[in-house]
């Protein structure tokens, strides 16, 4: 129907220039909407990444039976956990680490000999799923010379349940925010349509099709949405630059995040694209409701 998209873009540009306040209102509404959605998404994503990094420190501790040979068991464990970092920790080293982790309280260990602790093989299992951890520990326990395997089941279980629930809640929240946004923005854009009802009426009077009348509104919606999305992405980047050093200073786990980790580029692209999509949908809704009333 719309044989000249360039013409529609030109008319959209003219309309935006002619009534900048209406355009600013529309852009502002979309900006606030995608910024809040972006904040929620970035917050949820960061929380998940923090927990993931935390879970990445999860290790299986394989304690040796008294008298078992550390290098032999270590080799057997490494064979059962291919691709995992395996570290042999003799009792003396274990004691030293324990003392270090106790810091000022290290004096508690005065008089404790290295033979108080068993030798140990540590397996780093970053991001392991609960079932996997269980299966691996069962296999490791069967290794001759292994007395016990500790993998912090309760903690892993709780983390996984929490992450599942957080992911579901996050998606639900984003969905609700998206719907509320679409309605809100479409109401704002209806004002833009209403402000030009005389023009629309006269264009239809001289034979304009609905597609011809509507095309510039759709283009305007996309332009405003993309602009608002770009501004929201820039605002989020600014917030990250201002907040991340402070958060890292205040809370240890944040220091472990990469510099841009709170706003990965798919999220930023999503904010810009989401703004454009919201602009398009909202303007389509607004003009459609006006033309078909």
């Amino acid at each position: 129907m719309m044989r000249r998209p360039v013409e529609a873009i030109r008319r959209a540009y003219t309309a935006l220039v002619r009534s900048p306040y209406v355009a600013i209102t529309g852009t502002g509404t979309i900006f606030v909407a995608v910024l809040s959605i972006g904040l929620v998404a970035a917050g949820l994503g960061t929380a998940e990444r923090l927990l993931g990094a935390w879970a990445g420190e999860v290790r299986l501790s394989v304690y040796l039976a008294r008298g078992a040979d550390l290098p032999t068991v270590g080799a057997a464990v490494a064979a059962l956990a291919p691709g995992r970092a395996v570290e042999e920790v003799p009792a003396a080293e274990g004691l030293r680490r324990l003392a270090q982790s106790l810091g000022d309280e290290a004096s508690l260990l005065d008089g404790v000999g290295a033979d108080a602790l068993p030798d140990c093989v540590e397996v780093a299992v970053p991001g392991i799923a609960l079932g996997e951890a269980k299966a691996l520990s069962r296999r490791l326990r069967a290794v001759p010379g292994v007395a016990e395997v500790d993998y912090g089941t309760a903690w892993l279980e709780r983390l996984e349940r929490f992450l599942d629930r957080a992911r579901a809640a996050g998606l639900g929240l984003l969905l609700v925010l998206g719907l509320a946004t679409a309605v809100l923005v479409s109401n704002t854009l209806r004002l833009a349509v209403y402000a030009r009802r005389e023009e629309i009426e006269i264009m239809k009077l001289v034979g304009a099709t609905d597609a011809f009348v509507g095309a510039p509104f759709l283009v305007e919606g996309v332009l405003q949405g993309a602009l608002a999305g770009g501004l929201a992405a820039a605002t989020l980047l600014g917030l990250q630059a201002a907040l991340l050093p402070r958060l890292a200073a205040a809370f240890g786990p944040f220091a472990a995040l990469a510099p841009g980790a709170m706003l990965p580029w798919p999220l930023l692209l999503g904010v810009v694209g989401g703004g454009a999509a919201i602009g398009l949908l909202a303007s389509a809704l607004a003009i459609f409701r006006f033309l078909r009333r």
Partner: protein, 229 residues
């Protein structure tokens, strides 16, 4: 060109705006639609350019029944019709040239061709020097000439005018009527709704008279003037 068969238009809670009107207008005619205020003249024009649908009856335009036309088809019907209103209906924030260009733009004509046609149209209504001005800076007579130029921009087969001289003094009325007569002389079918009897006396044309929605007479203006002093 226009054929109405027993057309009735009712608005809820009112006596019919049009009642059982049967009327034929052939190609190239120049017709006055007259009658007192509230007789149904504007309603009849609205039915013809598909702004309203008849409550009952048939309405054929260019041989095609538009009594039950779908919203998607209306633009294609309107592209054969130019319309002029008493209040001009120009877009105040667009220049005279842009207003006249509107019917050509909605037909997606090339910009160069639009510019060329608009210049010719403005010249034909004596306003080529006003192309860059905005409607509010023009007199009523000038604005109505712009509206006529816009209505004729896409060479419509049919020109409808609803009280086109209602806001104009005698001299401006004459100018606008000359433009409509000239369009008719070039072959455009013209239907003018007016309650201005002096127009009917000056132009000896077919006169269709309505009263309270009914067609009460149809003939040339001389006989009309004699029958209804």
């Amino acid at each position: 060109m226009i054929q109405l068969f027993h057309v009735t238009k009712e608005y809820p809670g009112e006596p019919p705006a049009l009642a059982d009107v049967t009327l034929h207008v052939t190609k190239g005619e120049f017709v006055f639609l007259t009658g007192p205020s509230g007789a149904g003249k504007s309603t009849l024009l609205k039915l013809i350019f598909c702004a309203e649908a008849p409550t009952s009856g048939q309405l054929l335009l260019f041989g095609r029944n538009v009594a039950r036309v779908s919203p998607g088809e209306i633009p294609w019907v309107r592209r054969h019709i130019g319309v002029v209103f008493q209040d001009f209906k120009l877009l105040p924030e667009r220049t005279i040239g842009e207003n006249v260009a509107l019917p050509l733009e909605v037909r997606s004509l090339p910009r160069r061709e639009i510019r060329r046609k608009v210049l010719g149209l403005l010249r034909s209504v004596g306003l080529e020097h006003r192309a860059e001005k905005f409607p509010p800076s023009l007199s009523g007579g000038e604005q109505q000439r712009v509206a006529v130029a816009r209505a004729l921009a896409a060479d419509p087969a049919l020109l409808l005018a609803d009280e086109p001289t209602g806001n104009l003094d005698a001299d401006r009325t004459l100018e606008v009527m000359e433009l409509l007569a000239a369009a008719n002389a070039r072959g455009t079918t013209v239907v003018i709704a007016t309650h201005d009897r002096s127009l009917l006396q000056r132009y000896t044309r077919r006169v269709v008279a309505l009263e309270r929605g009914r067609l009460v007479s149809d003939g040339d203006s001389i006989r009309q003037a004699g029958a209804n002093p």
